[in-house]
């Protein structure tokens, strides 16, 4: 190496490689290269491969041939697929909104000077700490058609005379899953928003209170605007996690009863890995991308700093 460089240098000034290696404009590129390589290798390449697979008829154990939009064509006429699109959107929308509402409420509550504040804050985190599969199995028992503790209690109390078919009825099963998802997702929202709340300077509230602002006005004109960026981040993540949820569904219903609770992620796994149709599974996964992009766009615009936050006018 040293020899080669020496020869190249004596042969007529610095070589192109030499210049690329030391030029200031290229320095940034070199620093970015390792990170970019990791992203391309582990994110962009698998994503690209997934999209490519969706245009082939690949099966497990057999490489596919390019078949264009055939997979999408079959999906467009597949009621189970459209059912999964509906439930994925419904699940995400309902669970995320409720998670946000409860999370914000909890965050505001925990931001107050409560006794045992540290303890309470750690208790709130428990659902998030428990491995999802464990909590899913617990919920599976809670909602079991024969052993449900809820049904049992209600029957013993004399309120109902037969067990509730929690996971055997499509709408019951959907609501049970949404409930379990909310239970699991609230701590993430609550704790992150709490962190955001603590960055709001108390002097702002003092000033506002002196000016005669009510508690609602305090929230509406101080807390909420200052919390917007963090809400955008939290909700983006929350929406992404919910949209791509897999474990809860798989452990509790496996997409049943009668495919009523398939999310696009579970249906994709079902078709690609268990059914062996990699191409079709990839098409279902690829169909998730537009939705995920939309969610990211929301955060992108939500994250952009407002002018007033940098000292300018808000327009």
């Amino acid at each position: 190496m040293t020899d080669a460089t020496a020869i190249a240098t004596t042969a007529g000034g610095r070589t192109t490689w030499e210049r690329l290696r030391s030029h200031r404009d290229w320095l940034g590129f070199w620093f970015m290269a390792p990170a970019a390589a990791i992203l391309i290798l582990f994110l962009a390449y698998p994503l690209g491969l997934g999209v490519w697979l969706s245009f082939t008829d690949a099966k497990i154990g057999r490489p596919g041939h390019f078949i264009g939009l055939d997979n999408y064509d079959w999906l467009s006429d597949d009621s189970v697929f459209w059912g999964s699109v509906f439930f994925t959107c419904f699940y995400t929308l309902v669970a995320s909104s409720i998670k946000f509402a409860i999370g914000l409420y909890l965050a505001l509550l925990l931001n107050k000077n409560l006794p045992f504040k540290a303890l309470l804050r750690s208790i709130v985190l428990i659902p998030f700490v428990v491995p999802t599969v464990l909590s899913a199995i617990a919920f599976w028992w809670i909602f079991d058609s024969q052993f449900s503790i809820i049904s049992w209690s209600l029957v013993k109390l004399g309120l109902i005379d037969r067990y509730i078919d929690f996971l055997g009825n499509p709408w019951n099963a959907r609501w049970c899953l949404i409930f379990a998802n909310i239970w699991r997702g609230v701590p993430f929202v609550a704790i992150t928003l709490l962190a955001g709340l603590q960055t709001v300077s108390p002097s702002l509230y003092e000033a506002a209170t002196i000016d005669g602002a009510s508690r609602w006005q305090n929230f509406r004109h101080i807390t909420y605007p200052l919390l917007t960026p963090i809400i955008a981040v939290v909700m983006t993540f929350s929406v992404l996690f919910t949209f791509t949820d897999f474990q809860l569904i798989w452990a509790m219903t496996r997409g049943g009863p009668v495919n009523a609770t398939h999310l696009m992620a579970t249906l994709s796994f079902q078709r690609a890995i268990l059914g062996g149709s990699l191409g079709e599974g990839a098409a279902i996964s690829t169909a998730m991308i537009p939705f995920l992009l939309a969610a990211i766009m929301v955060s992108w615009f939500g994250l952009q700093k407002r002018k007033w936050q940098q000292g300018g006018d808000n327009d």
Binding site: S145, Q146, F166, G168, A173, R254, V258, S277
Partner: protein, 440 residues
């Protein structure tokens, strides 16, 4: 060290009740007689399904040990859950490296028959030596008329019922036809001792009993020529019959997975279901440990063959476990010797006993294995291999047929109609569409 192992082996052989020589001597004798002499310095990598009975695996490990001692072939066994075997085997088939032998389920060999080690010689040898292949599992070993794998065993699922409840419902013996079966379910419901069969995504139970109902009426997902044929009057009849049955079931069966009926049965809520022998074994084991309630339950449990449908012959779907070798293996003779060894009487008989009725033989010589007579309640499971159709029904066995079952096409069709989600025409159309997608 050798002495110690030898003594341990002798002891375990004695415990297994083997007469006339130790396990190792038998193994050595077999190794000398075997038509396949392992390559010098050979070692084998075996990938198999994760066991569901401890005793089965104990016998398997013992067998592997004896094989290593007798032939000097080192054997590494790795275990994977049911769902993971197929992807792993496929990767090995595509890349040409990985385990030498894979013991999987269903139509795994038909997924890549051209990558499988030809097994005609092994299959013929075994058939000649052990009374011939039982016809049910045979298709799982073949592709295009050639043997590409060896069907090792079948996992049978049959009627599990409470004797007292059946008697109370007015039946002395278990019904053997579909109308009688429906009558029994109705009577059980009336007595508040209901039947229940999984209508959820229960890979084993739901596929097993719903294919039985469908085929029993003469409906098939695909015909002899691999054409989708689900849209037929026979399918409609099967759906109508099933809806009547569903009306007699315990609540919640559309949400059931493979474990649900076991739980409900053992809790005393469920009095008739389709399952492997596991419910009975669980009750018996708990009873032997001093649980009086379970002991009484085990005494009250019995098994029956699935009733025969209007088509007039058994139409059961049982789970097959074929073993295959890859053609990239460097030690084909060791692989074949291993399979032949595993299927030999000295090894297979104790192994089958260890499986306690969960697994059924595929060779006629083992029809008389003591496991089927030791407890009369085990008996029906011994017929699983003879009574099963391949997962493709009357059609040719193919990976698509297994994919259709894994994708619950038939299960969902029945569930949609029984739960009233779709009418008869729509539900058949939906299933037809899904089947066309799979078999395109």
């Amino acid at each position: 060290m050798t002495d110690f192992t030898r003594r341990t082996l002798i002891r375990s052989a004695a415990a297994a009740g083997l007469a006339g020589g130790t396990l190792l001597d038998l193994a050595r004798a077999f190794a000398q007689e075997s038509p396949w002499k392992p390559e010098a310095g050979a070692s084998l990598n075996v990938l198999r399904w994760k066991q569901f009975v401890e005793a089965e695996n104990t016998s398997f490990v013992k067998m592997v040990d004896a094989f290593s001692k007798a032939t000097g072939v080192k054997v590494n066994v790795s275990y994977e859950s049911f769902d993971d075997i197929q992807p792993k085997a496929s990767v090995a088939a595509n890349t040409g490296q990985g385990p030498d032998l894979v013991w999987g389920l269903h139509s795994l060999p038909q997924l890549f028959p051209e990558k499988c080690l030809p097994m005609d010689d092994v299959a013929d040898y075994l058939a000649k030596t052990y009374g011939g292949w039982i016809k049910g599992p045979e298709p799982y070993g073949k592709a295009n008329g050639k043997w590409v794998a060896i069907p090792v065993a079948v996992n049978g699922g049959y009627m599990n019922y409470r004797i007292s409840s059946m008697n109370k419902a007015g039946f002395k013996t278990f019904p053997t036809d579909f109308p009688g079966f429906l009558e029994l379910c109705k009577a059980l419901k009336k007595n508040n001792t209901p039947a229940g069969f999984a209508l959820g995504h229960a890979t084993g139970d739901a596929n097993s009993w719903l294919h039985w109902i469908l085929w029993g009426h003469g409906g098939y997902l695909i015909d002899k020529d691999n054409k989708v044929s689900i849209n037929s009057p026979e399918t409609a009849k099967a759906l109508e019959y099933c809806k009547q049955l569903y009306g007699t079931f315990i609540e919640g069966t559309p949400s059931w997975n493979d474990a649900s009926n076991n739980k409900a049965f053992l809790a005393g809520d469920l009095h008739l279901t389709l399952n492997g022998i596991s419910i009975y074994v669980a009750a018996k084991t708990a009873g032997a440990k001093g649980d009086e309630k379970m002991k009484a339950m085990a005494e009250d449990i019995d098994h029956a063959l699935n009733p025969v449908g209007p088509v007039g012959h058994p139409t059961e779907l049982q789970l097959a476990f074929p073993i295959l070798g890859f053609n990239f293996t460097k030690v084909p003779n060791a692989a074949k010797a291993f399979i032949a060894f595993m299927m030999s009487a000295q090894q297979y008989n104790p192994w089958l006993e260890g499986a306690q009725g969960y697994l059924t033989q595929t060779l006629h010589a083992y029809d008389t294995n003591p496991v089927w007579t030791a407890d009369p309640k085990n008996k029906v499971f011994g017929e699983a291999s003879a009574r099963t159709l391949p997962i493709s029904g009357v059609g040719p066995l193919s990976p698509q047929a297994a994919a259709a079952a894994a994708d619950f096409i038939v299960v969902d069709m029945f569930a949609r109609y029984c739960t009233g989600q779709e009418d008869l025409k729509t539900t058949i159309k939906t299933a037809e569409r899904a089947a066309q997608r799979t078999f395109r």
